[in-house]
Symmetry: C2
Subunit: 428 residues, 2 copies
C-alpha cells in the first residue's frame, strides 16, 4: 500500500471523498460499542461463577489456623489469602496485606496516608510546599487522577520498549527532594502492553532518591494476565521487592495487585506487598481506618483457586477469550493500516490494552469521529497526566468487553476514522 505521505494532493482529495462515504456508511450501521475501559466481558465473568459455590451454608467458615472469617479481627488478611496474593506477586506471604475489593483504593489510601501522616514518620506531604510524582506515559489514567486530586505535580516520563526512560528517572529522583513517587505498571503496561526489562527493574531498585520518603508505586495489575499459553509468549519480570533489598533499598517500593480481572471486577480481593517497616507503618493507620477486609471473600477465593496452579489454569481460560479480540483488532490494523504511515500499534503478549499512536494532532479527532459513529473509546489524552497528551497522538484501545465480531466491526470503523482524520490533517 502507498504511504499517505507519498500521495499527491489530488490523490489525497480523492481518498478523502472515498473515506467520507465509508464513514457515512459506517455511521449508518448504528454501532453501539464501548471500548473505553478495560472491563471483562460477561463471558469472562461467567468463568468465575464456579467460585460462587466455594462457600455455602454448609461450609466450614474457619481458616486453616482456626479463625472464624465471619467475625471481626485480622487486619492483614487470612494467611491463606496472603500466601495466594503473595504468590501472584512472587513475594512471601509475610510481606503482604490483603485488602478490599480493589487495589485502586489501596493506592489512593497510600497517597492519602502520605499526605496526612507522612511516610514512615517523615513530614506529612500536606505540610510541604511542593510534592511531585513521576508519571511514565502513556500510562494509567486512574493513577494520574489520584495524584491530581491531591494537587501533586505530575512530571511526564517517556516510555521506551524496556519501560520508563531510566536516565531521566534516575536524574530527577536523585536531584529533587520534592519528588515523592513514581507510578508504574511494570508488566503488560497500561496501555503499552510492554514489560519492564531486567535492567529497568534493577535500575529502579538501585535508585538513589534525594527524598527519603520517595516510593515506587509498582502496580502489578497484570502480573498473570497473559494472552498466550506458550512460555515464550509469556512475559517475565524481575521481582522488585527482593531487587530493592539486594540494592539496599528495602523500603523503596509498594507493590499492588488484585483479582479484579481474575475473579470478578469489583468483587475480588486486592493486596499490597512491601517491606516489614512499610507494612508496619500502613497498619498504624489501617488499624484506625478499618476492622480488616472482608475475610469471607478472601476464604471464597482461596477455597476456589487453591493455589497458583489453580489461578494460572483459570487465567488461561480468560486468555482463550481475550486473545481472539486482540487478534481481531490487530488483524484489521495490519490489513487496513499497514504501510500507510499514519499509525503505529502494539501487539502485546498480555494485559488489557492495545496502544495506538496516530499522527501528531490526530488522536482527539479520531476518538471524536468514532464516538459520532457509535464507538466509545477511552478519551484521547487520558493516558497522560492532566489528560494532556502533548502530541495528541496516543489512543488506548480496550478490546476485552465487546465480542470478537463486535471488536472487528469497531476496528473497521476505527481505521476509517484514522484514515479520514489523517487525510484531513494532510490536506490542511
Amino acid at each position: 500500500m502507498k504511504a499517505y505521505s507519498e500521495m499527491s494532493k489530488a490523490e489525497l482529495e480523492a481518498l478523502h471523498e472515498e473515506l467520507l462515504k465509508a464513514y457515512a456508511d459506517a455511521q449508518a450501521k448504528g454501532l453501539k460499542l464501548d471500548m473505553s475501559r478495560g472491563k471483562p466481558a460477561a463471558s469472562q465473568l461467567d468463568l468465575g461463577m464456579e467460585m460462587m459455590d466455594a462457600l455455602n451454608s454448609q461450609s466450614d467458615m474457619h481458616t486453616e489456623g482456626g479463625v472464624d472469617v465471619r467475625n471481626y479481627g485480622g487486619l492483614d488478611g487470612i494467611p491463606e489469602a496472603k500466601k495466594l496474593m503473595g504468590d501472584i506477586m512472587g513475594v512471601p506471604a509475610d510481606k503482604v496485606i490483603v485488602c478490599g475489593n480493589a487495589s485502586l483504593t489501596i493506592m489512593y489510601d497510600t497517597v492519602a496516608r502520605s499526605m496526612l501522616h507522612g511516610v514512615n514518620g517523615s513530614t506529612p506531604w500536606c505540610k510541604l510546599d511542593q510534592v511531585k510524582f513521576l508519571c511514565p506515559c502513556p500510562g494509567y489514567d486512574r493513577h494520574f487522577a489520584i495524584t491530581e486530586s491531591f494537587g501533586i505535580e505530575m512530571i511526564n516520563i517517556p516510555m521506551t520498549n524496556d519501560g520508563p526512560d531510566m536516565d531521566m528517572v534516575e536524574k530527577l529522583v536523585s536531584e529533587d527532594t520534592s519528588i515523592k513517587g513514581i507510578w508504574c505498571v511494570p508488566k503488560y503496561a497500561n496501555p503499552l502492553g510492554i514489560t519492564y526489562s531486567d535492567e529497568t527493574v534493577r535500575r529502579f531498585a538501585a535508585l538513589k532518591p534525594a527524598a527519603e520518603d520517595f516510593r515506587i508505586y509498582w502496580d502489578n495489575a497484570y502480573a498473570i494476565h497473559h494472552l498466550y499459553e506458550e512460555a515464550d509468549r509469556q512475559d517475565r519480570i524481575l521481582e522488585i521487592l527482593s531487587e530493592c533489598e539486594k540494592a539496599g533499598n528495602p523500603n523503596m517500593v509498594y507493590e499492588f495487585c488484585s483479582t479484579s480481572k481474575v475473579s470478578f471486577a469489583g468483587a475480588g480481593i486486592s493486596a499490597v506487598a512491601s517491606s516489614e517497616a512499610n507494612l508496619a507503618w500502613f497498619k498504624q493507620s489501617m488499624t484506625i481506618q478499618t476492622i480488616g477486609s472482608d475475610k469471607v471473600n478472601q476464604l471464597r477465593h482461596v477455597r476456589y483457586f487453591k493455589d497458583m496452579d489453580g489461578i494460572m489454569k483459570h487465567m488461561m481460560r480468560h486468555a482463550a477469550q481475550l486473545r481472539p479480540k486482540f487478534e481481531a483488532v490487530i488483524d484489521v490494523f495490519e490489513k487496513e493500516l499497514g504501510g500507510l504511515g499514519i499509525g503505529e500499534w502494539t501487539k502485546p503478549n498480555g494485559g488489557y490494552f492495545i496502544s495506538f499512536n496516530a499522527l501528531e494532532g490526530c488522536a482527539k479527532a479520531i476518538v471524536q469521529k468514532c464516538k459520532e459513529a457509535g464507538v466509545v473509546m477511552t478519551g484521547a489524552g487520558a493516558t497522560f497526566p492532566y489528560k494532556n497528551d502533548p502530541k495528541d497522538s496516543n489512543i488506548r484501545i480496550a478490546p476485552s468487553f465487546p465480542t470478537p465480531e463486535e471488536m472487528a466491526a469497531a476496528a473497521e470503523l476505527f481505521v476509517i476514522c484514522v484514515k479520514l482524520v489523517s487525510v484531513e490533517k494532510m490536506l490542511k
Copy 2:
C-alpha cells in the same frame, strides 16, 4: 444489703479478707473469657449462614435494573441495597451510598476527606491551625481513635439519659468555628445503651454552628438491634435527616450504618446517608478512590434479607441469643451489688453493651483485677477521648461473645473485683 459506706472500718476489713479469698478462688478457676469488644458470638454468625446460599453458580447476577454485579461500575451501590440500607435508617434510597464491609471505614474516610479536601468546598482542615470535635462520653473508642489519629482536639460532652448535654453542645457549637463535628451513637448508644430523646434529636437538627463545615457524625450502628420483641421495649428515634431539613440544616448530618451485626462482622455491607449536596461531595473523591464497593455482596444481602421485614425477623433471632446474656449479667449485678452503693449499671433495650460506673478512681483497678483472673474487659478509660476517663469510673461490658453461662461466670468474677477494689479504696 448494707451499703459499704455505712460499714465500719472493722467490717470493711473483715469483708476485705473474705473478698481476697473469693478472688483467689475465682482466679483458681482459670477462666479465659473476652468481654472486650462487641463481637457477635459464633452462634449468632451461624444465623447468617443461610445467606451464603443466596447466590451460587446458577444465580442470575444482575440487579432488577439489569446491572451485572460482577463487573465494574456503580459508585453508590446497587439500587436494591440502597433501598434496604435506607430502610434501616428510615431514609429514602436516593439519600444513600452503599459502601464496603464496615461503616468505620466510611467515617474514617469522611474525616480524612475533610482534612485533605475540606467539606463541600470549605478550607481543608489540614490547613487550619485548630480543629475540634465534640465527644459525648462515655462513647465509642474507635470514634475517638479516628479524631485522635488526625490530631483533632476532642472535647468531652457529658451524657444524660436523653443523650448528650445539649446545653453544652449548643453553646460550644455556636461559639467556636474550630468545632467541626460531633460523634453520636444515637440509638442504644455505645456503651450507655440509651436512645436520644425526640427533644435531643430536634435540638441537634436546630443547631446553629459557627462553622459552616460543622457536621454531626450520626453513627446509627444499632438502629435495629433490639433485645426485646415487645414494642414497648423497642426504642424509637426520630429520623435526623428530615429533622435537619425541616430545621433548615439539610447538610448538617452524615448518618452511618452497617450490617456488621446483622449478617457477618467484617463481611457485611455499610452505608452512609446524607443530603444530595453532601453525597455529591463524597462522590467527587470516591470516584478517584474506588471503583465502587463489592456489588456481589450487596446482591447477596438483598437476595437473602429481601426487605425490612426479613431483616427484622432476622434481628429477633439475634435478640433471642443476646437477651439471656445481658440478663445474666444484670441478674448477677442486682443480686450481688444491689444496695451496696459501689456501682451503677445500665439495663438497655438494645445494642451491644452494658455500661458500669464504679466508685471514682476504681475502674482501672477493677479491669486489671479481672484480667489477672482471666477475664478481659474493654480497657478502663477506652470509652473516653484520649482513653482518659476523668473519674476513672466507667467500664464497658460487652456480653455478646461468651455464652450465657460464661457470661454469668464472668459477671460473678466482675462483682468480686468491684467489691474488692471498692473496699480497698475505702480502706485507704
